[in-house]
C-alpha cells in the first residue's frame, strides 16, 4: 500500500476508535446522573416568565446537588431558551429528547408553545410538566381527558376567573365589563370569563379587546364607561396590563372596581402603574404574598423559604412565574426520588401524587386531573399603599 493510502486508512481507524470511545463515555454518564431537561422563554417577548423560571430551576438543582443529589445520584439540568418562538421550542424539545436523552422535561413558559409540543411528548412517551397556564394543556378536547404524558403546575385561568367571580358575588356585583389582550393568554382568559359568567350570575355588558403592543386603551375604556358596569376585568400580560390601569385612573373611573388577571403578580407592575394601581384587585398564588400568609397556612413554610433563597442568590424579589418552575422541578425531583429514572413510573407517580405543597397551591393529581389545583390555590389580594394586601 502506498503512503497516502496508508495514512488515510490510519486516520479512518483513529476516528472510528474515537467515536466508539465517546459512545462508551456517554453510556457511563447516563447511569451516573439523573438528566432533566427544561425549555423556557428566557429571552424574547416572554422573558419575564422564562428568566425567573430558569433561575429558579438552576437554584434548585444546585441546592440538591450540594446536599448530595437524589438518593446520592447527582441531578443534571439542561436548559434551552426558546425565545418565545414556537419553531425554536419544537426543535429544542426534540433535541432534549433525542440528543440529550433526558428523562423528563419542564416548561415551556407559554401556553401557545406548550400546546405546540404536546404531540412530541405523547409520541416520545416522556413526561412533560408545563409552566404555562392554559387549561387546554391538560385537557384533550377530543377525549375530554388529560393527555397521558402531560402535566401542568400553574393554576388554570378558569380557576383565576372563578376566584374573581366568587369575590364579586360576595360584593353583590353582577354587571361587568371585560377587556382583554388578543394574545393567547388574553384570549384564553376571555373565553373562561364568558364561559363561567352564567354560572356566577354575571352579566357581561362589554367585551373589548386590544393588541398586546398597543399603547393606549382610553377608547375602549371610554366605551365601557358609557355602559356603566359595576366592575371591569382586564386579562392580559406584559406592559398593557399596566397601561389599562393607568388609563382607568386617568379617565376617572375609580368608582368601577378593577380586577386584574393573575398575570399582574409582580411588584414591578405596581411600580410602573405610578400610583394608579391603588385599589386594584387580583387573584395571586400564595408565593407572591408569602409574608402575608397566616402562620398555620399549609404553604407558609415553603413560600417563605423560596422567597428567602431566591433573594439571597439573585438579589431580586421572587417572581410569581419562578414559582411555577419551583413546583415543576420539585415535583420531578420527588418522583425521581421515589421511582428513579423510569419515564413510565414517573408518569404514574405524578398522576397519583396527593398533597404536594407547592408555591402556587397544594396539588392533588389524579388520572382525570393533571393540574391538581382548585380555586383555593388563589388568594384574592388588593393593591394597598404600593404593596399587596389580603382581601377577606
Amino acid at each position: 500500500m502506498d503512503r497516502k493510502m496508508f495514512r488515510a486508512v490510519m486516520v479512518c481507524i483513529a476516528f472510528f476508535l474515537l467515536g466508539t470511545l465517546t459512545m462508551c463515555q456517554k453510556k457511563a454518564a447516563e447511569v451516573a446522573e439523573y438528566k432533566v431537561g427544561a425549555v423556557f422563554s428566557v429571552t424574547g417577548r416572554a422573558s419575564f416568565l422564562g428568566d425567573p423560571e430558569k433561575k429558579t430551576a438552576e437554584m434548585i438543582v444546585e441546592q440538591i446537588n450540594q446536599a448530595g443529589g437524589i438518593n446520592g445520584i447527582p441531578l443534571k439540568l439542561i436548559v434551552y431558551d426558546d425565545e418565545g418562538d414556537a419553531t425554536k421550542c419544537n426543535l429544542q424539545v426534540k433535541k432534549l429528547l433525542e440528543q440529550d436523552k433526558v428523562t423528563a422535561v419542564i416548561g415551556p413558559s407559554i401556553s401557545g408553545l406548550s400546546l405546540a409540543v404536546i404531540p412530541v411528548f405523547e409520541k416520545a412517551q416522556t413526561p412533560l410538566i408545563s409552566c404555562a397556564a392554559s387549561y387546554k394543556i391538560v385537557h384533550d378536547e377530543a377525549t375530554g381527558k388529560p393527555y397521558k404524558w402531560i402535566f401542568k403546575v400553574p393554576q388554570s385561568d378558569s380557576l383565576a376567573v372563578e376566584a374573581i367571580y366568587t369575590n364579586m358575588q360576595g360584593k353583590g356585583i353582577n354587571k361587568i365589563a371585560i377587556i382583554s389582550g388578543t394574545s393567547g393568554f388574553g384570549a384564553s382568559g376571555r373565553q373562561e370569563l364568558i364561559r363561567l359568567a352564567p354560572e356566577y350570575g354575571m352579566e357581561i355588558v362589554a367585551d373589548e379587546k386590544y393588541d398586546p403592543k398597543d399603547t393606549d386603551m382610553t377608547a375602549q375604556l371610554t366605551k365601557i364607561k358609557g355602559l356603566e358596569p359595576q366592575a371591569i376585568v382586564n386579562w392580559s400580560i406584559g406592559p398593557t396590563q399596566v397601561t389599562v390601569v393607568r388609563n382607568w385612573r386617568d379617565l376617572g373611573m375609580e368608582s368601577i372596581a378593577f380586577y386584574q388577571s393573575h398575570g399582574f403578580g409582580s411588584r414591578k407592575n405596581i411600580e410602573l402603574a405610578a400610583g394608579a394601581a391603588e385599589g386594584v384587585l387580583c387573584p395571586l398564588g400564595a408565593c407572591n404574598i408569602a409574608d402575608l400568609l397566616a402562620a398555620d397556612h399549609p404553604q407558609k413554610a415553603v413560600t417563605m423559604k423560596y422567597a428567602e433563597n431566591y433573594k439571597a442568590k439573585y438579589n431580586e424579589s421572587l417572581s410569581s412565574f419562578g414559582g411555577h418552575a419551583w413546583d415543576a422541578m420539585h415535583l420531578l425531583v420527588d418522583a425521581l426520588k421515589a421511582v428513579g429514572a423510569d419515564k413510565a413510573k414517573i408518569r404514574d407517580y405524578l398522576e397519583t401524587k396527593k398533597g404536594f405543597i407547592g408555591q402556587h397551591g397544594v396539588f392533588n393529581f389524579s388520572p382525570d386531573d393533571h393540574n391538581g389545583l382548585t380555586k383555593e390555590a388563589f388568594q384574592m389580594v388588593m393593591v394597598k399603599d404600593g404593596d399587596w394586601a389580603l382581601v377577606n
Partner: protein
C-alpha cells in the same frame, strides 16, 4: 358616577385621537424633512422617538436631573445620534441610489434598537408627567395635562419650522436643496451640510415626540418600528413632503384609530388607519395635500 353621555364619549375619543395624532404628526414631519432634502425615507425615524423617551428616562429618573435640563440633554443626545447616522450610514455609501440609502436606514434602525435593548433591557419605562396627573374635566371628558403638552409641542414645532424655513438663511438654503440639489450647489450651498442638518432636525423632533408621549404610554426598546410605520402612513396620507400634510395626516390617523376603536370594534384598531390610508392612496395617490406634479418628479 354620572352616566357619561354619548357626546362626552365622542369628545373623549377626539381628545385621545388628537393626542396620539400629534405624535404621529411629529414623526411624519421628521420623515418629510429628510425626504425633502434627500429623497430618502428614513426608516430609523421611529427609533429617534424611542430614544427620546428612553434617554429622558435615563437623564431624569436615573440621574435625577431637573426636567428642563434633562429635556435639553435628551434632544441634544438624540440629535447627535441623528448626525452619526448621517455621517456613518448615509454619507459613506459610494454609489448612493435612493434604495440603497433606505436600506441603510433600516440597518441603522435595527442597530439602534439592539443597542437600546442592551442598554435599557426589555422592560417598559415610565416618566413623571410634566405637570402632574390631575385630570381636567371638560364636557364630561377627562383630559390629562400631559396630552396638552404633546399637542403644545406639535404646535411649537410647526411654528418653529415654518419660521426656520421661511425666514432664516439656513432654512431657505435647505428649501433650495429640496427643490433642486444641483442648482443649490451651483449657488454655493453646501448640500452635504444641509443633509446633515436635516437628519439633526428630524432626530430632534422625534426625540421631543418620544419624551412627551412616554408619561402617557410608557416607552420600551421596540416601540420604534410601529411608530415609524404609523408616522410614515400619516406622511403619505397627508402627502409626502408637505408639512401641512404631515399635520393633517397625523391628526386624521390618530382620530380614526381612536374613533374606530371606540365606536366600532376595538380588536381591529390598527387596521382602521391602514385601511383609510389605502383608500386615500387609491383615490388620490399623492395624498390629501400632496402635489401630484411634484410627486411625479420625485422618485417616490
Amino acid at each position: 358616577m354620572d352616566k357619561i353621555t354619548f357626546a362626552s364619549q365622542l369628545l373623549q375619543y377626539t381628545v385621545t385621537g388628537i393626542t396620539i395624532g400629534s405624535v404621529y404628526a411629529m414623526v411624519a414631519i421628521g420623515f418629510n424633512i429628510i425626504y425633502n432634502v434627500t429623497e430618502i425615507i428614513n426608516l430609523a425615524q421611529g427609533e429617534f422617538v424611542m430614544l427620546g423617551g428612553l434617554v429622558m428616562v435615563f437623564l431624569q429618573v436615573s440621574l435625577g436631573l431637573p426636567v428642563v435640563i434633562a429635556f435639553a440633554g435628551t434632544v441634544l443626545i438624540v440629535t447627535l445620534v441623528g448626525l452619526v447616522l448621517d455621517r456613518l450610514a448615509i454619507r459613506p455609501i459610494r454609489q448612493p441610489s435612493v434604495l440603497t440609502l433606505i436600506i441603510a436606514t433600516i440597518a441603522a434602525s435595527i442597530m439602534i434598537k439592539g443597542a437600546a435593548m442592551l442598554i435599557w433591557g426589555k422592560d417598559p419605562f415610565d416618566l413623571p408627567a410634566f405637570s402632574g396627573r390631575t385630570p381636567i374635566l371638560v364636557g364630561g371628558a377627562t383630559i390629562q395635562p400631559q396630552y396638552l403638552w404633546v399637542v403644545g409641542f406639535l404646535v411649537v414645532t410647526v411654528i418653529g419650522l415654518t419660521l426656520f424655513f421661511n425666514k432664516s438663511i439656513v432654512g431657505k438654503a435647505m428649501s433650495a436643496c429640496s427643490e433642486n440639489a444641483d442648482a443649490a450647489r451651483l449657488v454655493g450651498i453646501n448640500v452635504q451640510h444641509m443633509v446633515l442638518l436635516s437628519f439633526a432636525l428630524s432626530a430632534a423632533i422625534g426625540a421631543v415626540a418620544g419624551l412627551t408621549m412616554t408619561p402617557i404610554a410608557l416607552m420600551e426598546y421596540d416601540r420604534g418600528a410601529m411608530l415609524a410605520v404609523k408616522g410614515f402612513g400619516a406622511a403619505i396620507l397627508g402627502g409626502l413632503g408637505s408639512f401641512p400634510g404631515a399635520i393633517c395626516g397625523g391628526l386624521i390617523l390618530g382620530l380614526i384609530e381612536s374613533l374606530g376603536a371606540g365606536l366600532l370594534s376595538s380588536g381591529y384598531k390598527d387596521a382602521y388607519a391602514l385601511v383609510v390610508l389605502l383608500a386615500v392612496l387609491f383615490f388620490r395617490p399623492s395624498g390629501i395635500l400632496g402635489n401630484l406634479e411634484v410627486t411625479r418628479f420625485k422618485r417616490f
